[in-house]
Symmetry: C2
Subunit: 273 residues, 2 copies
DNA sequence: CAAATAGTGTCTCTAAGACAATATCAC
DNA sequence: GTGATATTGTCTTAGAGACACTATTTG
């Protein structure tokens, strides 16, 4: 038997077929809607960042931002790099939602993709609004069951995409979907978005990262809105406040000029570490 | 601009560097210990399957089973294939725990690995005990905090491996570790095992897959033992029974000849679908 | 009967949900 | 005062944990 050194210098990776590997980013954000009544708090929507493809394949289709993994980086670093390139913003959180490796998912060849959920806080989005030449837009998300299927609707002004999926398995609390109709989204991105949203919702129950959608200080009503918007539920303020009380700490500041009683601003309380 | 067909036929994947991709399996099992007293129920240990490497690199070291992804399969299919090849058993469950892509993790070159937790039920393990020529063994797991670090101890008879890790981040409830001392385990497998165990424990709280460790019918005490062994806790029988009551259904059968009161055998109740 | 596990009843305490009431600002 | 949201108090109920007790087998 050869020595380890001999083995390694004789080893040729090219002898085996290898896929290209990408990281795709499902960047979520809570978007405040315009309000008719300036005294009323703005309604909020969950939205996702899509980019209009400027090249083949799926030319002109909307797709998730993403890019190829380089040899000198981890997939997390790659994902972070892609978010920053695309949004000029450092995301508050990054969570892997799995490797998508279905043969044929990319017409260019054997390309597998690790998808990530990334959370962009409202505050930071303003920095880059309209600074990028690429056609990147935030689409409001609606994801609902309709006679057996899951329908994912994405809207931005006049543009409206409607993908239809089926829930195929729910292994270990992780839900997976199959595409019935991509709704015009590129690649298997409808499936990736559905999976990412499902993971986001699972986690929102824990309050752990609802903070990442907000600026450093926030009102408890804003925080409640984030959870309600993500999970598509509504809870009573009294109960919500009781539950998050241990996770936040007061500041001295209050909201101003909202046309109604000002709200105390809170900050996330760091528990351990 | 060329047409999509022209673009695709001109596209050359070889122009970009590509990693090799593997699936590594962390196969868990609940192992019943030999008992001194035949009237006493056997104690149980959580154990993991390791394989002694017969080639370079890490020749002679213990490593997780795994193998390269083929172009015509998904990473889940690859993982399933590897478990079946290695254990001759169809695992009860398979859950991804993430992509390990740290540059330099494999001395052969750029090789990234998606790790999976797989659960093997005690019943099925007997089928294959000792049928494989390869040196594959089940190691009992101990994973405990020791002055700031996490120590992972794996034992099988005389063989004892002791890896030291540090918790580096706990993003979205998923805990990640860095290796301080690999304890003789190949590659970054100490880290992968720690991450997988952490994911396994997180899920055991939900009862969702503690069933997968057991045969089709089981006693409630066995079920309780599985949860206690995985999570390294102990709960009161009355309370455990109350909680799982909705998840199981009675059978007509009882355990026999145990030297004490027989226990009713239960079966998992399928709730939805 | 003794050893050992199987299984049940019930008390307490906490947390979740529902509801009602009060507080405070801009106009 | 009115509109709108902010904030607090408390009742009820479901569930978790603790503890004590009874039941059933083999030797």
């Amino acid at each position: 038997m050869p020595s380890e050194q001999e083995f390694l210098s004789a080893y040729r990776q090219d002898d085996y077929p290898r896929p290209s590997v990408t990281a795709d980013i499902v960047a979520f954000r809570i978007r405040a809607e315009e309000s008719d009544n300036y005294r009323q708090n703005a309604a909020t929507k969950l939205s996702v960042l899509l980019i209009r493809r400027g090249g083949h394949p799926f030319l002109g289709c909307w797709a998730l931002p993403g890019g190829f993994l380089n040899p000198n980086e981890t997939i997390e670093q790659c994902a972070l790099r892609e978010v920053e390139e695309e949004t000029a913003v450092k995301p508050a959180a990054l969570m892997s939602v799995g490797l998508f490796s279905e043969p044929g998912r990319d017409p260019r060849g054997w390309i597998i993709s690790n998808a990530f959920v990334s959370i962009i806080s409202e505050e930071k989005v303003h920095w880059q609004s309209g600074d990028d030449a690429a056609d990147a837009r935030w689409f409001d998300i609606q994801f609902e069951r309709e006679n057996g299927d899951e329908v994912l609707s994405l809207t931005n002004g006049d543009i409206s995409l409607r993908a239809v999926l089926t829930e195929v398995s729910s292994n270990f609390g992780k839900t997976a979907y199959a595409i019935k109709d991509s709704g015009g989204l590129a690649f298997d991105h409808a499936r990736i978005i559905a999976t990412a949203l499902s993971a986001l919702r699972d986690g929102a129950r824990e309050f752990d990262y609802i903070f990442d959608f907000l600026p450093e200080t926030f009102t408890l009503t804003q925080l409640q809105n984030v959870q309600e918007t993500i999970m598509n539920i509504s809870v009573l303020p009294a109960n919500f406040r009781r539950k998050v009380a241990a996770l936040v700490e007061e500041t001295d500041a209050y909201t101003q000029g909202a046309g109604h009683r000002p709200a105390k601003l809170y900050r996330r309380k760091l528990l351990k570490g």
